[in-house]
């Protein structure tokens, strides 16, 4: 039985979402005794990611999976993979300018649109929704989600109030941005965060301000903390758009294995991103999930 080495290139393992993706790939690979996963972490730095790719190619890997996180493109890295004749499978992020073999990921704009629809519906077409953004616009994942969400507000009576600062994708950032929003905005009916972590912080800020009754919360990702909050009876966590890194990671791994076995796969695969609410949350909540 032939040994197979697959490089798993992560832009960052900072956060639960990406950790979950990496873990999913490794978990699926564990079912094969002849598959070894070489996983790298670039700490969010595209130059280091390029170096990681170089180091992996140098170790004669058979295929490379790239989890490109929040960067738009990494031409030097993806070109090097192509030049080495190694199959390139991208998960989550579809890097531009890349001559890739296959991609498995979400449609962030569509997720945003789904949440947008949910908000408009729940507000009956009238109200104000605060938006908390993760970071600068070069992370187009977040921008796509927000644009998708706001696109569904057009023509309705729902108005978006965008927090001026960045919340850095984290709970503490979301908490601070929400606090400042609450100080300045008398009337808010909903909050949308570009990911769950930020809204988990924002939810606490809203509760502390005693406005949990008037403001409901929406976000994207479907991480465990958010699902638990949605499940909680009488809570104000309304919905999250599923973007399961676990699913994506597993799908990406199997796609890679298929390619190595000689299959010619679909080039781009968009995974479905249902909106998770009180009604369907039990289907998605997994006590044992890490993410």
């Amino acid at each position: 039985e032939e040994e197979i080495r697959i490089g798993m290139v992560n832009l960052s393992l900072c956060c639960a979402y990406f950790v979950g993706m990496d873990a999913a790939v490794k978990a699926e690979a564990a079912h094969y005794s002849n598959v070894e996963i070489l996983s790298t972490d670039a700490g969010g730095d595209v130059a280091k990611l390029t170096a990681d790719v170089e180091d992996l190619l140098n170790q004669q890997v058979d295929a490379i999976i790239v989890s490109g996180g929040w960067i738009e493109a990494a031409p030097a890295a993806t070109d090097a993979i192509t030049q080495a004749g190694v199959p390139l499978v991208m998960v989550d992020r579809l890097l531009k300018l890349a001559d890739y073999t296959s991609w498995v990921g979400p449609d962030n704009r569509a997720i945003g649109e789904g949440i947008g629809r949910y908000i408009v519906e729940r507000l009956d077409g009238k109200g104000r929704v605060a938006v908390i953004r993760g970071g600068p616009a070069d992370n187009s994942i977040g921008s796509n989600r927000t644009e998708g969400m706001t696109s569904k507000l057009e023509g309705t009576g729902v108005e978006a109030v965008i927090a001026p600062g960045w919340a850095g994708w984290s709970a503490d950032g979301g908490f601070k941005q929400m606090e400042d929003l609450l100080a300045k905005e008398e009337k808010l009916d909903a909050v949308f965060c570009e990911n769950d972590s930020m809204c988990l912080g924002a939810q606490k800020a809203i509760a502390d301000a005693g406005r949990a009754g008037e403001i409901f919360i929406t976000s994207v990702d479907g991480e465990k903390g958010a699902l638990a909050a949605i499940m909680k009876e009488g809570g104000n966590y309304g919905a999250t758009g599923l973007n399961s890194s676990d699913q994506i990671g597993r799908a990406g791994f199997h796609r890679t294995m298929a390619i190595l076995a000689g299959a010619v796969p679909e080039k781009d695969t968009v995974l479905p991103s249902p909106i998770i609410t009180e009604e369907n949350v039990v289907k998605f909540y997994d006590e044992k999930s890490t993410f």
Binding site: G165, F175, E179
Partner: protein
């Protein structure tokens, strides 16, 4: 020329201090006039809560900076402390988990101080290495967020108020006089300051330099650990990625407040001014709806203006 200085037996303010205090007051007055939301009770609560993390880190940083050192590892200590305080609640009651988190701070601070003092290493590089290692260790401990098991952990601390005042702020406010007393009225605080000015002179006076240095690093790390515990309690979640870059804010607060990197300066009052200034600036920029790109740009400029306002010579 106008003499702008205050000198009493317990308070000494130079001209630069006064200018700086005036600048903060001006900022506050300006904000109050320009935004209705600024002087509301809600916003005061926000600012006071937002000051707590950087406040603790800056007080700790001050103690180390006065010895002539620097501690870059505070952000990582904060993250690990939060993860421990929350994560260990599965195994033990939350007060015990909190104690373990703070004990971790003691160990890390001791290690930092010991390496710096015993081997005469530069604190910058020692604590930089610690910052990286500890972050790695935090992820090894748990690479996904942890949620507190016990509701009291949040309701009694991070989410609690005493009258209108957040409990976390009260904890911070209580730490202020302790640090002031340590710096000005204890043997160790005075020795640490002297070490920052001229370590060799202190050694020649027969003082146990190592002990006082180590104490300062321990105090700094313990404060960072407390900040981490309070933050996770406030947020109701602990994340391994939290606190990256926090050390820079803490150093900025100390320097804006008149502290000298390399030793020989820095007061508790100055640090409070620095922490307050940074918190107000962040808050005001948000209240004015300044675009986040311009926020970054402006914040740098404001820091510059602040240090120019308190520079030693023209």
């Amino acid at each position: 020329m106008m003499r702008l200085a205050v000198r009493t037996s317990w308070l000494r303010l130079s001209r630069a201090d006064m200018l700086f205090a005036l600048a903060i007051v001006a900022l506050v007055v300006f904000a109050a006039f320009a935004s209705d939301a600024f002087l509301t009770q809600r916003n005061m609560v926000n600012i006071s809560r937002q000051m707590v993390t950087n406040g603790f880190l800056s007080l700790g940083m001050l103690m180390v900076i006065r010895t002539g050192g620097i501690d870059l590892s505070v952000g990582s200590v904060l993250a690990l402390a939060g993860m421990l305080a929350v994560g260990l609640q599965a195994q033990m009651p939350f007060p015990l988990a909190m104690a373990v988190a703070v004990a971790m701070g003691v160990v890390v601070g001791w290690l930092n101080g010991w390496l710096v003092a015993r081997f005469d290493l530069q604190s910058f590089i020692v604590t930089l290495a610690m910052m990286g290692s500890l972050r790695g260790l935090t992820y090894v401990y748990a690479d996904t967020p942890r949620y507190p098991e016990e509701a009291a952990f949040r309701s009694l601390i991070g989410g609690a108020f005493l009258g209108p005042v957040p409990v976390t702020f009260i904890v911070f406010a209580a730490a202020v006089p302790v640090v002031w007393f340590y710096l000005n009225h204890t043997v160790s605080g005075r020795a640490a300051f002297a070490i920052g000015v001229n370590k060799e002179a202190v050694r020649l006076a027969g003082v146990n330099v190592r002990r006082h240095l180590i104490f300062a690093y321990i105090a700094c790390a313990v404060f960072a650990a407390i900040a981490g515990v309070l933050l996770s309690s406030r947020l109701g979640i602990a994340q391994p990625s939290v606190g990256i870059g926090y050390e820079l804010d803490a150093i900025a607060a100390v320097v804006i407040g008149g502290g000298l990197l390399g030793g020989g300066g820095g007061t508790v009052l100055g640090v409070l001014g620095g922490v307050l200034a940074l918190a107000v600036v962040d808050n005001v920029l948000n209240l004015f709806n300044v675009d986040s790109y311009y926020q970054q740009l402006l914040k740098g400029l404001i820091i510059l203006v602040a240090v120019l306002a308190r520079r030693r010579r023209l």
